[in-house]
Amino acid sequence: MSASQSAVRSRAEAVKVSRTFDYLILWTVFMVLIGGYHIHYMLTGGDWDFWTDWKDRRLWVTVAPIVSITFPAAVQACLWARYRLPFGATICVLGLLLGEWINRYLNFWGWTYFPVNFCFPSNLMPGAILLDVILMLSNSFTLTAVLGGMAWGLVFYPGNWPIIAPFHIPIEYNGMMFTLADLQGYHYVRTGTPEYIRMVEKGTLRTFGKDVAPVSAFFSAFVSILIYFLWHFFGNWFSQTRFVQST
């Protein structure tokens, strides 16, 4: 390879080449992230995400943010540090939601006929935007972990409430009270998910009264901060360009 030779004929071509690589890289990163993030999320928080009758005010609120802040933290670590690109979290969530929606529509509904209003995914977008903006404005991973991680956990439930509230209306059915979400779970038969598998709030002798969702969100926010730190370092590790020598 001769250093004196140029790979491109002109500056205009260099710009065009660089731009073409942008699209190729974005496509690939986006697709790989959908694959990786989706498999991670579906197997760590998937059941809460699949069904409305799992979307409760305690465990869903706790688990979903904690397990979903992982990939955003890692991708932010790379895209911000190396490119000053503040969309690491958003692109992850765009990917995840796209993967989920395609699946819920074409397979949950299109293959096995569960109504879409029973199996729509959780909304993670508000947290992602906040996480990205906080990183961009603060230019600090520490602040992003603390403030962004906190925001990620806290905003999850209010960000989803307008979507799930209609399914929490009570109904009397054959002499028992259900929410509409419970009734969906009962009506739309799942041979592989008997009711006892459901991990939802069943009540305790706690003293917090009915403020379960805020307490859960707060706890989730706390753990999200810790997970953000951890996954920031994962992101750094995965960003390395090191070669190892074959023996």
Binding site: V17, V32, F71
Partner: protein, 250 residues
């Protein structure tokens, strides 16, 4: 031969830097194939895939499994073999323009890898969750598994290894050794396939119900993380391409 590498010849002919036809043909191939697979699932999943002891299950699903495994071994052997066999033995002496062209070709492979990983990791893996709601887990080779584990995973593995081999055999940048993150990005998702062994072993006697978040599935999660190693590949590629473009771009 040493003096006239294929790269020089290609350069003289001034092939386009990015062969868009190959890019779209590659991506289109996966799309068309997987749409057909989804159609097959839609029809024969319902008519022949609910009971693994039925004779029609053997016809439409077990035969599908046998055929796909044979074809995968065949495609992997031929594809990887050809890429290796036609390797550039003078890779360090190619022109910068040829190197750039090869980076583009490399990104065609990576684009296909990303695409294949999407279908395997996202589409067919979550799809499996809903199929388990329609049947009782009565075999390791349930229709969704025959597609997910034994078709979509091998396809992204074949594509990923092909991309890795292409880089290793044709790009000067990758002659420095073995790119750690490239190996993680290819071998990690590959490990999801052997991890099926753990999954099926566990399901044989722990539980037959469909709890996606069960710890039994965490092997898939762990190996799924390795998809993030694409970041390392991107960083390396951007470095390499940056070096080729720097004096013209800045």
């Amino acid at each position: 031969m040493a003096a006239t590498t294929e790269s020089v010849k290609a350069d003289a002919a001034e092939a386009p830097l990015l062969n868009k036809r190959n890019l779209f043909a590659g991506l289109g191939l996966y799309l068309v194939f997987y749409v057909w697979v989804r159609w097959y699932e839609g029809v024969y999943g319902w008519s022949a895939g609910l009971d693994s002891f039925a004779p029609e299950f053997e016809i439409y699903w077990m035969n599908f499994l046998y055929i796909e495994i044979v074809l995968e071994i065949l495609v992997a052997s031929v594809l990887w073999g050809v890429i290796w066999k036609t390797r550039d033995r003078n890779v360090m002496s190619i022109t910068p323009r040829e190197e750039l062209r090869r980076h583009f070709t490399h990104w065609i492979w990576l684009s296909c890898y990303g695409w294949a990983l999407y279908w395997g990791g996202s589409y067919f893996t979550e799809q499996d969750g809903t199929w388990h709601q329609t049947i009782v887990r009565d075999t390791d080779f349930t229709p969704s598994h025959i597609i997910e584990f034994y078709l979509s995973y091998p396809i992204y593995i074949i594509t990923g290894v092909a991309a890795f081999l292409y880089a290793k055999t044709r790009l000067p940048y990758y002659q420095q050794g073995l790119h750690l993150m490239y190996m993680v990005a290819v071998i990690g998702p590959f490990m999801i396939l052997p991890n099926v062994g753990l999954n099926e072993w566990g399901h044989t006697f722990w539980f037959m119900e469909e709890l996606f978040v069960a710890p039994l599935h965490y092997g898939f999660v762990f190996f799924g993380w390795s998809a993030l190693a694409v970041l390392g590949i991107v960083n390396s590629e951007v470095d390499a391409i940056g070096k080729l473009l720097k004096k013209d771009l800045v």
